[in-house]
């Protein structure tokens, strides 16, 4: 237990030798800052993706021919609807449209705006769009990133798509998709189903896939089996699988960063160890004085331990605090691009503050244990040596 006298000594040890501790504190803050920033970004992205996918349909039905995705006949809808427990089946027409010249691609999604199920799902995205007015002409909704890309190429009000038949189809830019969906819809264009069909070359009576919901969770596995047995070339993808695919893509980056930071931590521990070993003679003398004046090994280790705890906690709180400001207030410049990529249309996402306490505790432990070891081992080595020698 620390009494007031010991607390006074602790303050003397920490702040009296601030120049000796300064480099250690700065290095620690940097390591914690980098680790926490990565953690905050990945937690926030994961949360945003998971929340966005929560609104997605429970299952997607596709067709695979010769191992490739193929167009799905609309007639399958009847077979799907007949399965008990399935709710709200919606056909979708979508596909990736590669621009000329090369470099960018849009995800065109054709929506049957007269279909109530599709409307329900879309209402969250299109919000206050006046559908009647929207359907009167060849209109489309584009993401902010797509709009800005088009504007740069002087397509301020409309864009001409080269259809599968080789003719140009001019679509008017009606409105921009809301920003909060930008993480998954940064390259999306939403348009009426017939226009999408023409551009993407999807035949009449065919769609890209069907999406459906299963209200009863307990029936999901059973319905997936039933759907899979409907046709030899059917492919069913559950929401869980979609989530796992997104997870994997971010975990790949997390794994990369984790490896990098394990190396960083190891280097940090080595630097600390070296630093405290280099200050060996100063420490040796001071510890020798303490020992000669009646301090036991335990007294010295206790003081040094508390000294390290103050440094560790100070650096940790500062590092995490700076990371919070960097990620959630400054929106993580540079680091965000590494995570989200900037190849096609990099998402212009605002990172939502999400704090993963278990990961923060792991960082604390990963940082604190090598720190304590790197400092206490040299101190212990001195403390157990002959105090007379220590003062020479």
């Amino acid at each position: 237990m620390l009494n007031r006298v010991k607390l006074h000594f602790l303050a003397l040890s920490v702040f009296g030798e601030s120049s000796r501790h300064l480099a250690t504190v700065l290095l620690s803050v940097l390591v914690i800052f980098i680790l926490s920033s990565v953690l905050f970004i990945s937690s926030s992205i994961k949360y945003t993706v998971t929340t966005a996918l929560e609104n997605e349909a429970d299952m997607t039905v596709q067709r695979v021919r010769g191992g490739m995705l193929a167009q799905v006949p609309l007639s399958w809808e009847k077979d799907i609807v007949n399965i008990r427990g399935i709710d709200s089946v919606s056909p979708r027409v979508w596909g990736r449209y590669f621009t000329k010249p090369k470099g960018k691609s849009f995800l065109i999604i054709g929506v049957d705006f007269l279909d109530s199920n599709a409307n329900k799902a879309l209402s969250k995205i299109v919000g206050s769009t006046d559908l009647k007015k929207f359907l009167n002409a060849h209109n489309m909704l584009v993401s902010a990133k797509v709009k800005s890309w088009m504007k740069k190429r002087f397509y301020t009000d409309s864009y001409s798509f080269l259809s599968a038949d080789g003719e140009f189809i001019k679509m008017n830019i009606y409105a921009t998709l809301p920003k909060n969906s930008d993480l998954l819809s940064n390259d999306v264009i939403i348009m009426p189903i017939d226009d999408a069909r023409k551009i993407l070359g999807i035949k009449e009576g065919y769609v890209t896939d069907f999406v459906l919901n299963v209200p009863n969770d307990a029936q999901k596995v059973f319905i997936e089996d039933k759907l899979s047995s409907l046709h030899f070339d059917i492919r069913v993808v559950s929401k869980k699988e979609s989530l796992a695919a997104y997870d994997e893509s971010f975990n790949f980056r997390n794994g990369f960063f984790l490896t990098l930071f394990m190396i960083l931590l190891a280097t940090f521990s080595l630097i600390l160890y070296q630093r405290y070993t280099q200050s060996y003679s100063t420490q040796k003398r001071q510890i020798g004085i303490y020992r000669a004046l009646g301090w036991s090994i335990k007294d010295i280790l206790t003081l040094k331990f508390y000294e390290i705890v103050v440094i560790i906690l100070g650096s940790y709180v500062t590092g995490v605090g700076l990371a919070y400001i960097f990620v959630y207030i400054a929106n993580a410049p540079v680091l965000r691009d590494i995570f989200l990529g900037s190849g096609n249309f990099s998402p212009d996402v605002v990172l939502i503050p999400v704090i993963d306490f278990s990961a923060l505790s792991s960082i604390f432990l990963l940082y604190a244990i090598p720190f304590v070891a790197s400092v206490l081992i040299p101190v212990w080595k001195i403390a157990v040596s002959d105090p007379k020698e220590a003062m020479l």
Binding site: N3, V5, F9, L12, A292, L293, G294, K298, D299, M391
Partner: protein, 230 residues
């Protein structure tokens, strides 16, 4: 009354790969409570090693060392440290102050492990600094003190725990004559307070000590002779 320090057949040797170096070769010594003992001898005669063993900073290879009736060589580290803190005050040749601490913080170092109340520590530090005539520099950093002031700070630190024994290793080696004489005055005060003082020195200034003391002459790890001076 039994002696405060009793040494019988004390040997200290170090084994090197080539040979066994004997630093102390069978010392027998008895120091009475309140006595001032001056160990004289050339460098390498074993004075500092003998002091270190009495202070519990070194352990004997052979023989018996009793301090306050306690066989200190057999005490485990915790007990030995606390014993040293409570019963022995140390004055070192090179002062051994913590340079970035103030005088009062340096003086309070031996009191930290004793779990005393803050006010009590402050009071004891104040008293010790007064006795060593260094109170006027209490807030000054040790690094900024002169040699004489450093020595007085070391003395205050040595007596802050009110120990029975004060051990001084070449205390005047780094002092000019004026400060060395002042040191003798402080020694006299400590003697008058009833402290047992053990000094290792080869400085002739101690011949001018004007109170009763014993001089022990050491040579090559052995006691050559001793004489009491009244």
């Amino acid at each position: 009354m039994s002696p405060i320090v009793e040494i019988e057949g004390l040997k200290r040797f170090y084994n090197t790969p080539a040979e066994r170096v004997e630093v102390l070769k069978g010392i027998n010594l008895s120091i009475e409570r309140g006595e001032t003992l001056i160990l004289k001898g050339v460098s390498g005669s074993g004075k500092t090693t003998l002091l270190s063993i009495i202070a519990g900073l070194d352990r004997p290879s052979e023989g018996k060392v009793l301090v306050e009736g306690e066989a200190i060589a057999k005490l485990p580290d915790n007990h030995l440290s606390h014993f040293r803190g409570r019963h022995i005050g140390m004055v070192f040749q090179h002062y051994n102050l913590i340079e970035h601490f103030s005088v009062k913080d340096n003086v309070s170092v031996p009191l930290v492990p004793m779990n005393l109340r803050y006010q009590k520590v402050g009071q004891r530090v104040e008293d010790a600094m007064k006795k060593a005539n260094i109170s006027h520099k209490s807030d000054m950093l040790a690094a900024r003190l002169s040699g004489g002031e450093k020595q007085r700070c070391t003395i205050a630190r040595a007596i802050v725990t009110n120990p029975e024994i004060v051990i001084c290793d070449e205390p005047t080696a780094n002092l000019d004559r004026e400060n060395a004489i002042k040191f003798l005055d402080i020694l006299k005060n400590l003697h008058n307070m009833g402290k047992t003082i053990i000094i290792a020195t080869h400085d002739s200034i101690f011949e001018s000590l004007n109170f009763s003391h014993t001089v022990v002459y050491m040579s090559d790890g052995e006691i050559e002779k001793s004489e009491s001076i009244e």
